[in-house]
């Protein structure tokens, strides 16, 4: 074949409305309508109600209870994330290790709770956790003192972790199933006992999944409303409950909006701080 002959048909120059971009248009329009527009409204209202200015933000940072709740929201979310990582890691690993039939059962166990409404699941946690509930009845029957679970932070963390667990398991599993288990064999031939091989080879390679799941769980946890409202007490109120009080009970749309904006900005700042750590690890481990 002559060198002058074109080997691929020439592609017309692409404008900004190129075909791949056009494919994302429906999603972008939907996002603009259901996320972009409401977000803009919230920001505007936080600055304009009852009058233009930053009075809502001054109020937020002037009231200690708001700051306490904001801090608590992040602490509870962090605990939920930790619990999810600890529970999901071995589970996701098991999913990669078993045969296809057992894996299907494990996947179903993750997905079935998704098909049950969050309210129903939270109410069943009320039944399990309450002072006369299943857990405490069993404890008393076994001769132990009953423990307070409902209306505590512990109860809230347990309930939220259960609801959010699939968001941790699924990204972890998708990363873990791509890890070549023959690398563990190689590590052993080089002198690593199995635990050492796990910590030096498997764990670093699975970290991208941990990070991905942790970010999803953490962000979802920050905005949780129903579970903390039903399982928590006054000492485990999260920011979303305060927003609800301001907006629905006191009709303070501006203050509610300001709280939302503060939560959003704080989350972005935290993620930006965590990004360098995650990115460097992710880049290394992502190399195949």
């Amino acid at each position: 074949m002559s060198a002058l002959e074109p080997t691929t048909p020439s592609v017309p120059k692409r404008g900004w409305l190129s075909r791949p971009f056009a494919l994302t248009l429906p999603a972008l329009i939907l996002l603009a309508a259901v996320i972009g527009y409401p977000l803009l409204t919230i920001v505007l209202r936080s600055l304009s109600e009852p009058q233009w200015g930053v009075q809502n933000y001054l109020w937020f940072f002037g009231a200690p209870v708001n700051l306490t709740v904001l801090q608590r929201t992040f602490v509870i979310s962090a605990w939920v994330t930790i619990v999810c990582v600890v529970c999901a890691y071995p589970y996701a690993y098991l999913m990669t290790a078993v045969g296809p039939r057992a894996r299907l059962v494990l996947v179903l166990c993750v997905l079935i709770p998704f098909w049950v409404s969050g309210v129903v699941r939270t109410l069943s946690w009320v039944i399990l956790l309450q002072d006369s509930g299943v857990i405490n009845s069993l404890l008393r029957a076994a001769g132990f003192d009953s423990i307070r679970l409902i209306r505590t932070q512990t109860g809230v963390v347990i309930g939220m972790a259960q609801v959010l667990l699939p968001f941790m398991i699924l990204p972890l599993y998708s990363v873990m199933k791509g890890i070549d288990l023959r690398l563990m064999r190689a590590a052993q031939s080089l002198g690593a006992r199995p635990s050492r091989a796990f910590f030096t080879v498997y764990l670093p390679l699975s970290l991208p999944g941990v990070y991905a799941g942790a970010i999803i769980v953490f962000i979802l946890a920050l905005g949780f409303y129903i579970t903390p409202a039903l399982l928590g007490g006054p000492r485990s109120t999260m920011l979303s409950t305060l927003v609800q009080t301001q907006v629905l009970s006191l009709l303070q749309w501006g203050r509610g909006g300001a709280m939302g904006v503060v939560l959003l900005v704080t989350t972005f700042v935290l993620l930006a701080l965590a990004a360098p750590v995650m990115r460097s690890r992710y880049r290394e481990a992502g190399r195949r």
Binding site: D180, L183, Q188, S189, G191, A192, P194, V201, A285, R287
Partner: protein, 371 residues
């Protein structure tokens, strides 16, 4: 071990080792002695037990029965990470989250080698495989051949007395494979370590090995140098697996000192006989066969068989012909450039000296396993 000191190879003794998976015998009483510093290749088709043998020595697979000694020490039951054996895998198995330098340093870190010595030894190992400039690269930035050289450096950096290689060049293209074969040979000479190399490629085995163990169906058929296996195959399977060969089958008659085969009306004889009841076949190497045009005077050759040229391949250094015989079987002949040349469909006579024919017991399984 101090830097600069020659690493001494370990001897390996396999004493009737067996490995069964349920009813399937992956290894069936394999015995083999590998000398210190030897380059031993385990050769065989897939499923013949060669890789299982390697995994048993590495400690990845448990034995069902038998004894395994490495450097005189019984290692049955010793876990892989305590065996101090280097392993190179077909799939490279480099750690993707570590740079080349950290990959090679990994076994040294595990052994608590201090940083200065670690650095020196990593550099030396990478230099040995000619990858010294790549220490800061990541495996994903390297070609397959480069990755395998790094894997080799990682497997020798801790001076193991034994290096196992499981089809290390299997995923590479032919040119690269041939070059790396020579590299592996050179590294073996420089290290003095015992090498055990698994391959299904008989040419690769011939290039690399001091000795070759030919595996078939979980057993060793024959152990010997490449020349011994080519010239004196002990079984039909070995004869067919190593090098090209022509197998003549026919109604056999043996008297005290010679064997005659009757093939489609013609008779060929060889001045030998085989022991036992098995029916004999003749195995002939391509360079021991000659072809002549039909009707040409053929005085002086003991055996002649008529046939037609079914394939003619020009090889540069000579020609290779496939001759279809009257009974339908195909003979492979290599002839030098100086001889006559033949075209497809030419009627020819296949000539050979009976003394060049190897008489072997027929084994129809040899065909089945090879195809």
């Amino acid at each position: 071990m101090k830097p600069g000191q020659e690493s001494k190879g370990a001897a390996i003794d396999l004493e009737s080792i067996s490995k069964a998976y349920g009813g399937f015998k992956a290894l069936d009483g394999v015995s083999l002695r590998i000398e210190p510093g030897e380059f031993m290749t385990l050769l065989g088709p897939s499923g013949s037990g060669k890789t299982t043998t390697l995994n048993v020595v590495a400690g990845f697979t448990d034995l069902t029965s038998g004894k395994l000694l490495v450097g005189g020490r019984n290692v049955v039951g010793v876990p892989a990470h305590k065996r101090n054996i280097g392993v190179v895998f077909q799939h490279y198995a480099l750690f993707p989250h570590m740079s080349v330098g950290r990959n090679v340093a990994y076994p040294l870190t595990l052994r608590g080698v201090d940083q200065a010595e670690r650095k020196a030894r990593v550099a030396r190992a990478l230099d040995m495989v000619k990858m010294g400039d790549f220490a800061h690269r990541y495996p994903s930035e390297l070609s397959g051949g480069q990755q395998q050289r790094v894997a080799l450096a990682r497997a020798i950096v801790f001076d193991p007395p034994l290096l196992l290689m499981d089809e290390p060049l299997g995923a590479l293209d032919k040119k690269l494979r041939e070059w790396l074969q020579l590299e592996i040979k050179r590294i073996h000479r420089e290290l003095g370590t015992t090498f055990v190399y698994v391959t299904h490629d008989q040419e690769e085995a011939l290039v690399l090995s001091d000795r070759i163990a030919v595996f078939n169906r979980g057993r060793i058929e024959q152990v010997g140098t490449g020349r011994e296996l080519y010239d004196e195959p002990a079984t039909l399977f070995v004869g067919r697996f190593i090098g090209d060969s022509t197998v003549l089958r026919g109604e056999a008659r043996s008297d005290g000192t010679s064997t005659a085969l009757r093939i489609a009306g013609e008779t060929v004889t060889a001045p030998r006989r085989i022991a036992g009841e098995a029916s004999p076949v003749m195995l002939l190497r391509p360079e021991k066969l000659a072809i002549r045009r039909s009707g040409q005077d053929a005085a002086g050759t003991t055996n002649r068989l008529p046939g037609t040229i079914a394939e003619a391949i020009y090889l540069g250094s000579g020609s290779k012909y496939e001759v279809r015989l009257a009974d339908g079987s195909v003979a492979i002949v290599r002839s030098p450039l100086t001889g006559d040349s033949f075209g497809l469909g030419d009627r020819v006579e296949l000539c050979f000296d009976g003394a060049d024919a190897k008489l072997l017991a027929d084994d129809s399984s040899a065909d089945a396993t090879l195809t």
